[in-house]
Structure formats: C-alpha cells, structure tokens
Symmetry: D2
Subunit: 239 residues, 4 copies
Amino acid sequence: MSELIQFREYSKVELIDWMPRADAVPKDRVAQAARVSSGTEGHASERANTGLLKMLQRDRHGSPFEHVVFTWRVETPIFVAREFMRHRIASYNETSGRYRELEPLFYMPPRSRKLVQKGKPGAYEFEQGTDEQYEIVREHHEASAACAWHDYQAMLNAGIAREVARNVLPLSIFTSFYVTMNFRAFQNFASLRWAHPAAEVPTFPLYEIQQVCVGMESDVDELCSEMWDNFNNEGRRPV
Amino acid sequence: MSELIQFREYSKVELIDWMPRADAVPKDRVAQAARVSSGTEGHASERANTGLLKMLQRDRHGSPFEHVVFTWRVETPIFVAREFMRHRIASYNETSGRYRELEPLFYMPPRSRKLVQKGKPGAYEFEQGTDEQYEIVREHHEASAACAWHDYQAMLNAGIAREVARNVLPLSIFTSFYVTMNFRAFQNFASLRWAHPAAEVPTFPLYEIQQVCVGMESDVDELCSEMWDNFNNEGRRPV
Amino acid sequence: MSELIQFREYSKVELIDWMPRADAVPKDRVAQAARVSSGTEGHASERANTGLLKMLQRDRHGSPFEHVVFTWRVETPIFVAREFMRHRIASYNETSGRYRELEPLFYMPPRSRKLVQKGKPGAYEFEQGTDEQYEIVREHHEASAACAWHDYQAMLNAGIAREVARNVLPLSIFTSFYVTMNFRAFQNFASLRWAHPAAEVPTFPLYEIQQVCVGMESDVDELCSEMWDNFNNEGRRPV
Amino acid sequence: MSELIQFREYSKVELIDWMPRADAVPKDRVAQAARVSSGTEGHASERANTGLLKMLQRDRHGSPFEHVVFTWRVETPIFVAREFMRHRIASYNETSGRYRELEPLFYMPPRSRKLVQKGKPGAYEFEQGTDEQYEIVREHHEASAACAWHDYQAMLNAGIAREVARNVLPLSIFTSFYVTMNFRAFQNFASLRWAHPAAEVPTFPLYEIQQVCVGMESDVDELCSEMWDNFNNEGRRPV
C-alpha cells in the first residue's frame, strides 16, 4: 500500500464564527427580536428573557431563533457530506475534485463503530461486530483506498483532467466544507442526526453523521446553553 | 386631529450586527470559504483575494457570499414592509398588531416624492406633483390617519381585542422589524429595490423601499466596500 | 356611506391545480419517491403503500411529501395575507396597489367572531362579544372604510399615483393572491394556523387565517385523505 | 473482472410529471398568476400573454414562473448527483446505500468526453484526449470499479452492514433520484449547468451535468417552448 495513504477514524468540526457578536449574547438577541412583536424590546431582564425563551421553544415560535447564526468548517468523508448537504436551509462551500487534486486521506471505521445491522428499513438496530468482522472491514477499506488512489494517480500522470480521474475515488475519501446555518435550522439538523435519549421522535442517523452532530452541539451548547437546554427539555422537537 | 398622531417622512434602518466578526473582515471570509474548493485556504494574500473576489462576482460563484450575514432593525410603513418580506431568503420578526397596541405614527410622503405616474405597467415614469397635488396628498393622509386612529381607539375603549380593532388601520402606519439576510440575498434585494444608474437590467422600485435599500447599502458599502464596488461594476447583477 | 363600498365576512379559497396528475394519485407519488431510497419502486401495493405512508409521517421522513404540490387562489383581507406570506417555502403572486386601482371590498368580522381577548401574550383566550360590542365593531369598520375610500378616490381624482393614494387604505381591504405550496410546507402551515383539537402542540392562530386554513385543508383532505388522516393521527406535527 | 459489473456512458432523465395540468398550459398559468397583480386575469389573450411573458423574463419578474413545477427521475453517477443537489430550491429523494444494496452499474466516460484540461481555475478549457489517454481512462475506471465491487461484496458476505460496506464504492457508481423543481429554479440551474452559446455570463459546467441539463431542457422546451425561447433570447439570465 502506498506510503502516502492515510486513514482517519473521525471527522473534525471547527467553529469558525457566529452571530450575534456586537453587543449581545445569543439568547438576548433572540429575545430582542421576539420582543419587537410585543413592543417590549426595552423591558428585557435576565429573568424575563429566560421565561420568554422557554415559551418560544415550547410553543414553536421559531423565527426569532433564526437571527443566531453559526459558521463551521467540517472535515468528513464524502458519504457524510452527502447526507449533511441535504439540509437546504444552510450555506455551503466544499472542496472540489475539479479545482484541486484531492489528498489521500480516507475514512476508517473505528473499532467502536457498530458493524452489523438487524431488523428492517425504518427500524434498524446495530450490533457490535466481531474482531474478525472488524478485520474484514479494515482490510477492504485499505485495499479499496489503495486501489482507487493508484488508479487516480495513474490517470493524473497520464495528463487526464482531475475532474475525470476523481471518478474512481471512493465515498470514504475526506472532503472539507464550510457551512453557515442558523440556530433554527440547526435544531432541525440535530433533531434528525443524533439518536439522543431526550428525543421524543425516534431517529436513526448514520453513526458518522451523529459524530459530526455531537461536535456541533458541543459548540452550540457552549454558546447558547440555556437555549440548548430548552431544546432538549422539549424533546428535541425542532421549533 | 388628535394631538397624539405623528407623521414621519422617512424610514429608519439600523445595522444591529453582522458576521464575520471573530477574526476576519467580510471579504476575507468570502475568500476563505471560496478557497476551500481549490485547497488554497492557506495561500490568501490581500492582492490575491482582491482578484478572487472580482472573479467570484463576475462569474456568478454566489455561494461564498452567503457566509457574510447582516441583521438590521427597520422602521417603515406597512406598505413597505409588505414588499420587503416578499424576499424569502431572509429571517424576520415584526411588530404584531395582535400582541400590542400600535403607536399613532404614520407615513407622510415628503415633498420630494414624485406623485404623478405616466406610462403603462412595466414602464412607468414618475413626475413631481404640483404644490396643489402635494397639498391634497397631505390633507388626505392626515384625514385618513385621524379617522382610522379614532376608530381604532373607539374599539379598544369598548373592550374589543387589538387584533380586531387594528383592521381599520391604514397601510401607512409604521411597523418595526428585524431582518437577517446574507450578502448574496442582499445583492438580489438591491438589484430589484434601487433604480440605480449602474444597473444593467432596469428595475422600477417603489420610492419608499428604495429609500430603505439606500440605507442598507450604506451599511454594506461601509463594511464591504470592495465587494460592493464589484457588485456595482458588474451591473448590479445578483451573483 | 358610498354606494360602492362592499363588505365581506369571509375569505375565499379556490384550488387551482395540483401535482401529481399524470398517472399517479398523490399518495402513490409520495410512496414512489420514498421507494427510490430502498430500491423498491416496483414493489408498491395498495397495502404496502398505506403502511409506508404512516411510517413516513410518524418518523418524520419529510422529503417525499414535497413532490405533491398545490396551487390555490385566495381572496382575503391584507392583514391575513400578511401572516400568510410569512410562510417562505411557497410561491406567491398578489394584487398590487401600484399596478391597479383596488376595489372597495372590505372585511367585516362576522357576528360569530370572538371579540374579547383575555389573558396574556402566549396564552390568550377569546370570548364572544356582546351585541353592543359587535355593533361598535360594525360601525367603526364601516366608518373607517368609508373614510379611507373617500380619501383614496379624492387623491386618484387629483391625478395622484395609485401607489401613493393607496397608503390610506386599511388592512381590512381585500387582496387576491396565488400561492403554490408543497404538501410538506402545507403541513407546517396547518400545524400553526388551525387551533385543532388533534394538535399536540397548542397554537393560537388568528381567527381569520384559521378560516383560510380550514378551506385549504378541505381540498387537501379530499385529494389526499389517507395522508391527511396520518397527519392528524400523529398530532398534526409537521413532518 | 466480475461478470456482473456494467458500465454506462450516459445519464438518464425522465420527466415524471408537471404542473399546471388542470385547465392551463404552462405559459397561461404564468400569465394568470402575473395578471393578479394588475387585476387583468380576465383579459388574457394569446397575443397579450405572449407579450406579457417576454416582459416578465426581460424585466426579472420571476415569481410568476414558480407556479410551473416539474418532477424528473434521474439516473446519474454520484459525482453528478453531488453537484445537482447543491441546488437548494428543489425537492429530492435518492437511492440510499443504507437502505439497499447498490447495483454494480458504473459510469464510463464516452470517447467524445474531453479529457485534458488547460488553463487555470475560473478559465479552464478542455481538449479531446488521445486514443492512448482514453484507453488509460477506460482501464482505470474498469479496474477501480472491479476492485471496489469486490471489496463491497466481501464485506456484505461477511455480514457487514450495507452502510459500512458502501464506503468503498467510487463516485462513478450510479444513483437514482427524484427531483421536483419549479420553472424559475430550473432557469437558475440551466444558466449554470450548460455552457450554452446564448449565455451572456460564461459558465464552466462539468460535462456530465451538462448532459443531464440538456435532457431536462429538452422536456422544458417541449412543454414551455415560448417561455424557453424567451429565456434563451434574454441571454439565459435567470429571472
């Protein structure tokens, strides 16, 4: 196997920026926007805002949450990026296999990744694989990455355009993207992409996108802990 | 006429917040997001970014501009808010006539507002009205505001709900809203809402929404002057 | 009061068109689109589709519902149109007070409309008004419509542009619009705009927009009765 | 190489359904929706509508075009689907590598596909490859497909879940999806995804997505020829 090829067992999520910044913390901006409806922008207090935010989450007054916006940079395999970008209320820019030669970084499932699926569509359960099964997964992830990378390089060396040569690369190759998403859209994302015990409606996300979601939630929880508690306390139902 | 009633000849636009803030100016964030596609995030320079931004605007690479986001607070008559909120790639919270008693603040066209329409749909031209015509406009804006406000108050005093009483208020009454909109969506807004000499495609906006657009563009130009020059130089064609 | 002025106590909702039409009923198109994910497009049966549709609604698999699309023509007062058009996942075209002279048709609350509001924001309750209160509502709706229409006509007769003269018209004047909305977006609309006994999450819609929603639901129920039952049975939670 | 593996040199585009159907052809529905603004719904004629539609396209009155909606079923390689689904004003359902075992159908560039890229980002040009280069492309597309399919099957045979095994499959494997998109969103798609001689603003689409776009345009042109002529005559600038 090529010396160059590397494997990574996890995605990276980096918070790049967020709004509001000027003179408000996120929960106060949400409260401020909500208060324009009742003409009480000047009457905010810590305690009153806490109650208001609970009510907004509980009664599905979703629009004030849209004024809080995050930008992340995500490094993840293409099969995760494909699922992620189905979320349309967001802005994306991603590494292009047309504009650059891709890097030989591939995803390898970690040993803790459940490998065996039971049940039928809509009600799958997953079980830990045996050591033998995990070895098979490792072996074939390595073999196919090596094979694909060889074919990719051979075409590039023959002067073939990157956008043709990349066709042979596997879904496990890493890509990078920026995503900007508001707090309301993120509630929807989180409600679907983490099989969280607090969730009222069950969801069956792919393990690898759940890992990305966990990373994003960690940032959201740090910046907006009170609002994130409200989300969890209301059964992770998107507002 | 009621002592309480007030008229205002203009809208107010206040920039509340924007993104990016953490460690980037807007143009550098756009360049950063764009560079992920070619793997050149680390190769940015002032000069290289300037060229990149021109190319992005010229060739309609719109998505990187979406990571720059603004929040404004706008005070404007309802007939302007109605047009504004047809722009769907944005987030809004507005004063509610259900949740609060509205204030007796009404729009009065300024003397400089052209009053007389010539031509046919799709090709209107406007001309300055005579002093007599302007007096007629003033008189009837005052009379109808006084009449409507009297009816509104009479119903409120009789214990009628605000959401019923407000039906009688005119489109000229002021409302307030927060709007969060990204730089790309704002290009579309500006392309339609200002009959600007640099525009390639003619547009015929309402005078009063153009005034709001002028105020917003002033903020955008201050924060993103280079990108805004590019927009104007490319004929104000939204990217 | 002018002979011309008319009042109407209700909105009109007319279904103009819908999709699918070619060779599928709505539920079969939803099932067909959903089945592409599991490669079972060819294995549909009446019974299997019924189970599939229940599962899609219950587990929030929302995207297949987006391939069912409706177009309505709505006649309603401006204060209702304002709320309606806050729903952004939809397409609108509306009567313009710039492009035409409006018609003297105004909304009058019907006797059955509850007039008195109790409680505080987020938890309002409404009670029937007395006959005296209803008379006050009638009187002031009539007076303000007459007053506004007089001012509007006086300005038009003086050669003032329609787009200036219309400022004085009240929120109760009727407007007409076309709206195209998919089945998933309509679930969200219905979940917020009808205080329906089957709703899990309480909502407090304006009486007049609920009437519009009731009309639209009647069409949806007729065309998609099985799917609409599923929506109601799952607590009217938008998918 | 496995007997099972198949290659296909083209994508398939099948028009499944469209709206309007009830009692209007597409251009008449667009005109009808546009006419609500001027109160001339009853005054339509073939000739008047023709002029109106030209004006709508020319002056960027885009919203009436949104009431015309198409559903297609597309079979295309994953690397094309990835680009396609960046178009967010649309509805998608796609084959899932989690819910089904994928089929061994892979993309092979046709001989006519230009293989050699000259120039730099933003201004690429492509040239026909030599016979030798094309042989190299064929050989490595075949080799990598065989290698990946072998690894995929080996994992499946060892009881590994489909959603893990599929990681090794290449971007060239075919996927299928339903897409529902309105006429306005399709104008944007077409403006970016076909390097068409009538285009005012140059675009540099991937060859394979242009082939998909050509297929879709053929359907749109058949159903909406007059509107499609207007789009082309106005420089393929999205409305």
